[in-house]
Amino acid sequence: MTKRRPISRPPVFIFVGAILGVIYICLPLVSLLRKISWGSLLSQLTDGPTLSALRLSLVTSVAATVLALILGLPLAWVLARVAFRGSYLVRAFVMLPMVLPPVVGGVALLAAYGKSNGLLGALLFDSFGVQLTFSPIGVVIAEAFVALPFLVMAVEGGLRAIDSRYEELASTMGANEAKKFYLVTLRLLRPSLVAGIAVAWARALGEFGATITFAGNIQGRTQTTPLAVYLLLESDPQAAYSLSFVLLVVCVLVLISMRDRWLGSKR
């Protein structure tokens, strides 16, 4: 049911504040578009370092989203459906990367997976010679770290909203736990799952602080698009604007695909 909207006009200061809010968000975005030289956009994006940053970003952000999904779906399930002592504490920790300064996340990741004195990283390096820091895998770990809470939040909300009667019904019709999960729960969860994946991917794609701290800024190896934008701003601002434009377009597309969920329908 749609809420009835008040028909009275808002006070002037509310109206002015709202307009200023829109301008505050839109002015930088419009200014960015003004800076782009459309004629050379394509050539700038297909230039060696730019292209390799875009390619690395695409691969690592998709991998990070898959990792976030593998860990996040069971986590969301437990948070939504298992009653246990201290669940609120687990949720608080899982959501922490959402509000934590990304650079702090990166430092924490170093403390865990650093090759020389990381809690787990030292063991991995000494035993198997595996180094996670300053590698593309490090980029994936950093991106998944910040993207995970977004996925968990969307999926947990979705799971809570599912009418459990449909799952019970499936049981009475002979569906075992696995079939019930694949054929009913996952199907009912689809919109939330898609939303969670999209927003986690967008977050992974835009990750900067944790990535540069944990994985470094090595061109062709760990330099993702946001890192490239930052560096290019000094050496080749035009290319930085073009790359920023790509990230902006991707985010707008994600937002458009989520319009029913976040922007409200027109009803």
Binding site: L169, A170, S171, T172, M173, G174, A175, L188
Partner: protein, 209 residues
């Protein structure tokens, strides 16, 4: 062939105690709101475990609070119809009706064939490809009832299946239900508030209080 339930369920502040024995008959479950009619069906379906006592069907222990033996819902060969929202919202009418068959291992084509036959014999071929959201309340319940009998269930549990329908739609579905329930060899429980349902469909009444 008997079903024997002697036990209780404790759900927080609510406790249901009951002792029921049934043979091949249609039992009406009546009683005021909140007395535990739906809970009783959920115990029989395997959606709720007994807190004490046991449920024995055909000499087989289905649920025993003492020994913690418990046969889960999907292994009980039950069929349940709720008051509303009984169809899976993302499946067409045909797929909804075929669902229990698919779960029992019938392949896709064969289950569709059987479902289509049932749909045609009930004169609702025009609904076969529709989703539940495109059906009226009466149509939804009719589809749910067709589905309830498609997989030859041994236990049929109906939770006020006609109460959401308007008065005109009920007599025809009552005939349908009486016919279908009589054909099932097993245990049939019909929760209702309506005296007509009790008199026209059921063999015996159990009043919970």
């Amino acid at each position: 062939m008997t079903l024997r339930l002697d036990g209780s369920v404790n759900l927080g502040a609510f406790t249901l105690k009951c002792e029921i024995a049934s043979e091949n008959e249609i039992i009406a479950i009546t009683g005021s709101n909140g007395v535990g009619k739906t809970t009783l069906l959920r115990v029989l379906a395997g959606l709720v475990k007994l807190t004490s006592g046991a449920l024995v069907i055909d000499d087989q222990i289905i649920d025993d609070a003492e020994t913690d033996e418990f046969v889960p819902a999907h292994q009980r060969n039950v069929s349940m119809v709720f008051q509303n929202e009984t169809l899976l919202p993302f499946l067409t009418v045909r797929d909804n009706i075929a669902f229990p068959l698919r779960m029992s291992g019938v392949n896709r084509n064969r289950s569709h064939e059987i479902a289509q036959k049932a749909i045609s014999s009930h004169g609702i071929s025009n609904l076969a490809n529709l989703l539940p959201r495109d059906l009226s309340g009466g149509q939804s319940q009719r589809v749910a009832l067709i589905r309830a009998f498609i997989g030859a269930p041994k236990i049929v549990l109906l939770d006020e299946p006609l109460s959401a329908l308007d008065e005109n739609a009920r007599p025809e579905l009552r005939n349908f239900l009486r016919e279908q329930l009589s054909a099932v060899v097993g245990y049939k429980f019909f929760v209702t508030h309506d005296r007509q349902d009790v008199e026209k469909i059921c063999d015996r009444e159990i009043h919970l209080n």
